[in-house]
Symmetry: C2
């Protein structure tokens, strides 16, 4: 159970200093998520959309579902979410303080993200280099048996039989979007003969004929393994240094950079329910309900799913194999299979983000004019905005629900529904919610921009 650990020149005896069953699990929360437009956008990835019914009848997101499933494994699993800066607010909002967050300063694909998260674990969370960690995508649709197997994979990787341990999925068709793992044998755990990331369909078919498995995107290894690999590719001293020089890291996937090249890998077959819900076609397959939100369909609809986040109703009649989704960013009406090819269409839209979930609540753009922007801001109870000012716009705030306090140029006042605040350009202001606070904010000015914001230290 102990051994020579060549990386970083450290000798390890890795089970001595730790509680028997504890595990560091890193959830990779990535993706700008255009493939689930209009519900996903630059700041709101698919893992944050609340589509899954819970036992109490409310709905949870993929992220919340996965974290709930992991927590059901036991409280000794420490979750770190590796993500981008843009997602930090949404993660805090959905999970509170239950997880650590390692945020990339910019998007750099999975090799860099995993390296940064590894350095974060080591330098910030003080996880020893010899400790085995499990990286796992946040977006597979799975049951709790999956996370039990991750724990098993963790134990397996800890034994040191390979540098890198993978989870293999029985392929159902020669998909071009997965990595293919060729195992040595058909046993539950096998040495990996080779790994090929995203082959063409013909090649994938050949691999499947050779008994290949899909790579589930799960990687288990000792922390020092990746830090040493990364250290040989880019010079850095610790997490903070890596963070500061993150832009210089190579932008490529972990699969190409590491998995394809590693000689000592093992794979564990997972035979439970596993679905990659990256597209509407696959996502709707996992939904318990045909309709989420305000919608009606007639009896002639077959295999239709409607997800409506708008206040206005959707009526669907006589369609087959279709997905209808409406949100503040737009409306999709598509054949389910065709919807998988939406990316270029979304890219060409280049539209303003109309809705966002923040750590403090949400905002929703209600109206856009040449020289005005009307938004609805919902501030969760107990939350507050930064103290800030705008140089080139005036704002009118109309409190429509809840209560709290506002500070304007240092003067504090209590606010509640019906109050109207006029914030001239240059006025320092903030709001704090006592109860959930809803505000209609009308911004007026010749140059309205999210960049026109000056922050100040806390006033109160």
């Amino acid at each position: 159970m102990s051994g020579s650990f060549p990386m970083y020149g450290i000798k390890t005896n890795h089970r001595v200093c730790r509680k028997e069953e504890s595990m560091n699990l890193i959830l990779l929360s990535g993706g700008s998520g255009t493939r689930l437009w209009p519900l996903s956008n630059e700041v709101r990835s698919k893992q944050f959309i609340k589509l899954f019914k819970t036992k109490d009848g409310s709905r949870e997101s993929m992220l919340q579902r996965v974290c709930r499933q992991i927590s059901e494994l036991g409280s000794d699993v420490a979750i770190t979410v590796a993500t981008s800066k843009a997602q930090v607010s949404a993660i805090h909002n959905q999970l509170g303080d239950r997880v650590s967050i390692c945020a990339e300063p910019c998007r750099k694909d999975t090799f860099a993200a995993i390296t940064l998260a590894a350095a974060f674990l080591h330098d910030v969370k003080k996880v020893p280099l010899h400790e085995t960690v499990v990286f796992c995508p946040v977006d597979p649709y799975v049951e709790s048996d999956y996370f039990k197997e991750l724990r098993e994979l963790h134990g397996l990787a800890e034994k040191g039989g390979a540098n890198l341990s993978l989870l293999g999925i029985e392929p159902t068709y020669p998909s071009e979007k997965y990595g293919y793992i060729i195992p040595k044998d058909k046993k539950r755990v096998s040495t990996v003969l080779s790994f090929k990331e995203k082959p063409g369909a013909a090649q994938a078919k050949l691999y499947i004929g050779q008994g290949a498995l899909w790579n589930a995107g799960v990687f288990a290894f000792q922390l020092g393994y990746i830090l040493e690999k990364a250290g040989s590719l880019a010079a850095y001293t610790n997490y903070w240094d890596l963070y500061a020089n993150y832009g210089a890291l190579k932008e490529n996937s972990f699969d190409y950079m590491i998995a394809e090249k590693e000689k000592h890998m093992q794979v564990m077959r997972f035979v439970g329910k596993w679905k990659d819900v990256g597209t509407w076609n696959t996502l709707t397959d996992t939904m318990d309900e045909e309709i989420v939100g305000n919608a009606v369909m007639d009896g002639m609809c077959k295999n239709v799913h409607i997800v409506n986040e708008l206040d206005i109703p959707v009526l669907c009649m006589g369609l087959e194999n279709a997905v209808i989704s409406a949100g503040p960013d737009g409306i999709l009406a598509a054949d389910k299979e065709r919807s998988s090819y939406m990316k270029p269409f979304i890219d060409q839209m280049k539209q303003q983000v109309m809705y966002a979930e923040k750590s403090w609540g949400t905002y929703h753009v209600l109206d856009v004019e040449q020289e005005s922007l009307t938004i609805k801001v919902t501030l969760n109870a107990g939350e507050k905005m930064n103290y800030h000012s705008h140089g080139r716009r005036k704002e009118a705030w109309v409190v429509i629900a809840g209560s709290g306090k506002a500070v304007m140029d240092g003067i504090e006042r209590h606010i509640c529904a019906g109050d109207i605040l006029v914030i001239r350009a240059g006025c320092r202001h903030m709001v704090a919610a006592e109860t959930e606070l809803k505000i209609i904010e009308v911004q007026i000015g010749k140059e309205i921009s999210v960049r026109d914001k000056q922050k100040y230290p806390e006033e109160v």
Copy 2:
């Protein structure tokens, strides 16, 4: 050209007192229009939706198109629009003062509407009883040859060869929604043997076998004819009396009440382009463009039409024979043929009207909360609101574009973009637009209702 006119006991020589070619044409603008939801609603019927491309590239509504076509016939056609109170603003807004409007105090089907319009023509517009008038639905999709034929029908009816003159359309299938006219012969103008309103499909098939024509909904007759008929069914003395007692009139269609019973009818065959655009299926058939509004479709879409009145984009992929329509009231995604059966679904929605066109401009509901309502009001240049107050709500007005003046409790002030007005409950107020004025209005109160409005005489 003259003759004994039994109705009202009047002897007529009906071409003496009139300009040779002048004609009174009454457009029947009816319908709550749920079959074109979400673009039509209680206050916005299909004839007001701007879907048809004009020569200059802008778009016109069915109503505007029909009136333009009629005006191209010559300036001697006097148009009266027979409609409901709810449509008066929209008609003024789209047509200005070019037409007379006869508004029913409540909906009572076509018999009552035609009777009221006839009384309006006689008592308000002083049209003599012996004069021939032509009633015509506002919503057939036709070319200008249709209106030339209406003039011909008018001339034919004037000759007095029948009490009631109809326009017949060659049927294309045994529809259950039209009246069937059985002509005596196949000549262009024929005596009518019988008329049967909306038979079942089997009966319609039999009629078609007998050479029947569809009734186009056009009725030409001398004004006294219907007034005498109506007088025998309900006691009234003139237009104002009829208006005051309108609720007592029988609610039935002109077709059942009059056309089915009339023995002396003639029909003129119309062979030009004629389409009843009462459903999405038929309406999209007349559209020159596949897309109206902000929308994109992929190359796999076949026979798809998108009409989007919202600011957010619509993406449609891989659908066939479908119509997608989005407006402030909701979103439709439907097989074109199935969409004809939407009425019961719309009726069950019972939703707040989110958008309306008024004589002074438009309003658009942006947000609805328990105790607040946020709307965007656009007041056309030169227009103004009534002077009014609300007893149980406060309003915040934020001017986001344009300029004008506001009066609050008798005090006048100039307003422009950036101004914020707070109108407490009970405060008398009005706004007048110099240039097009856009206002975000936030209503706040425990009981927000359109009925909470007290009007006052003009203050300024």
